[in-house]
């Protein structure tokens, strides 16, 4: 599927898929990133309005909130859904968990440190979620321009995770061997082609 040949209907399909899968509301600026070609905010808003009316009369509706657009259940359908596994606790998004992991393992850290490790911006909202929970707090400021706050985990965090100290967190020292850190596909199986550079090549390289 080529983003540059999108017709308006496909723009709507992509927007719908993105909004249905996002855990957070998506701002128009975020939605623009979905497409290669430049889409004006006006075009996007028009398609969003269309999408909203497409969902009229369904159990789920598209709404605009302060931070963007999102789908949610229509209040009149809540009662039905509440009959499903009512005891199931909600879960944090991966963004929240990653931020929490970085603060736990690398404390004290600034928001900039977290962004560097995650490779994406960390929203104020996200930090606030963890602060509101009482799991992180500010323990100081780094003396660089802007004096960014240094975050650390609190005792409440340890208590809630049933830990006596940070030492009891799972050690990370050998996790590296469990993931494909190079981001490469696994080495092709030996039956098709040899897995490794033949020793001869190494020798030749060494002898050269």
């Amino acid at each position: 599927m080529n983003a540059s040949t999108l017709d308006p209907r496909q723009v709507k399909t992509v927007l719908e898929a993105a909004l249905l899968t996002s855990q957070e509301p998506l701002a128009v600026a975020d939605l623009k990133k979905l497409f290669d070609e430049e889409l004006s905010s006006d075009t996007l808003r028009r398609v969003l309005e269309e999408l909203r009316s497409d969902w009229n009369g369904r159990g789920v509706e598209l709404v605009q909130v302060a931070s963007g657009w999102r789908f949610r259940v229509r209040p009149e359908y809540q009662a039905f859904l509440e009959r499903l596994n009512p005891q199931k606790p909600p879960r944090y998004s991966r963004a929240v968990l990653e931020t929490l992991a970085i603060i736990a393992y690398r404390q004290p850290v600034t928001r900039g440190d977290i962004e560097e490790i995650r490779g994406v911006t960390v929203s104020t909202n996200l930090i606030r979620t963890l602060e509101a929970r009482g799991w992180i707090d500010i323990v100081g400021h780094r003396e660089v321009p802007g004096r960014p706050a240094l975050y650390a985990t609190t005792k409440a965090f340890l208590d809630d995770l049933n830990l006596r100290s940070l030492d009891e967190l799972p050690p990370l020292d050998d996790l590296g061997s469990l993931v494909d850190t190079a981001g490469l596909a696994p080495i092709p199986p030996g039956a098709e082609e040899p897995v490794a550079a033949p020793l001869e090549e190494l020798r030749r390289a060494a002898a050269a």
Binding site: L20, T21, F71, V73, L100, T181, G183
Partner: protein, 268 residues
């Protein structure tokens, strides 16, 4: 360039042919060797590589040649002072054993069951099957990795129930970060390092309350020597990261620890 020709020559292609030894003076860069050997998941993987590379019939493995070649690799690993897993040596012993049993006379109607190589062949094939299966399994699209799941907000009234987080969630989150390779592979976090970081947070919290604290007040001898050492390391790390300042006027006077402030920095 003797090694050039020696290296290019086929190694152990024919039954019973002598296998070229690696010249003793040949230098293989340890890094290259390590990367090369790291690609093997163990002795079975290495053996399979040798067999497939030489196009050997799995059902009729030339034990002498294969053993020599296998030992050659093990020898390089040892010479390279690489940490050699015991499994590699165990396999070497097994290969030698099979090789010697091949020399013994066998019953006239020798089926594969009586073949000393049968068990090795069975293991090699089973491992290869699983290795291929692993590769294929990894190609099956995975939720979250290759396709997203739908997740529409449902503001359920659950009495303000907060999301639960377990240590496994944090571990998983970290593995995700590792995969994105944004985290430097050499930045390994050990338990020891973690408790240092915990004490760094503790000292910073303490310094928030009091502008400065006397060095020795940060240490609590009652907590044991390990905590003293960790606290000291935490202080050094804080100083290194420029988060605190350690000052002492004359020699032997009390040492003070204070938060590093921009004001002080400019005065200096």
């Amino acid at each position: 360039m003797v090694s050039e020709t020696a290296a290019a020559a086929p190694v152990a292609r024919v039954y019973g042919e002598p296998v070229h030894e690696i010249p003793h003076d040949l230098y293989i860069p340890p890094d290259a060797l390590e990367i090369f050997l790291e690609q093997f998941e163990g002795p079975l993987d290495l053996l399979l590589y040798l067999i497939r590379k030489e196009n050997i019939n799995v059902l009729d493995i030339p034990m002498a040649a294969l053993t020599v070649q296998y030992l050659e690799y093990v020898e390089i690993m040892r010479a390279g002072a690489l940490e050699l897993a015991a499994e590699y040596l165990l396999m070497a012993a097994l290969l030698i054993e099979i090789k010697s049993r091949m020399l013994l006379p066998r019953p006239a109607v020798a089926g594969l069951e009586e073949d000393p190589r049968a068990e090795l062949v069975r293991r090699l094939l089973e491992y290869e099957r699983m290795k291929l299966a692993a590769h294929r399994l990894n190609e099956v699209p995975q939720a979250g990795r290759d396709f997203s799941l739908v997740c529409v907000l449902f503001e359920r009234d659950i009495g303000g129930q907060m999301p639960e987080v377990g240590t496994d969630d944090l571990r998983m989150a970290w593995m995700t970060l590792l995969t994105r390779a944004a985290v430097n592979r050499h930045h390994r976090i050990t338990r020891e390092e973690l408790s240092v970081r915990e004490h760094m947070s503790r000292i910073l919290r303490r310094l928030q309350e009091a502008r400065y604290v006397e060095f020795k007040e940060l240490f609590d001898p009652g907590k044991g020597i390990a905590i003293l050492v960790v606290t000291f390391l935490a202080l050094l790390e804080l100083a290194r990261e420029g988060l605190v300042q350690l000052t002492q006027q004359p020699a032997y006077a009390p040492i003070y620890v204070k938060l590093k402030t921009s004001h002080l920095t400019t005065v200096q």
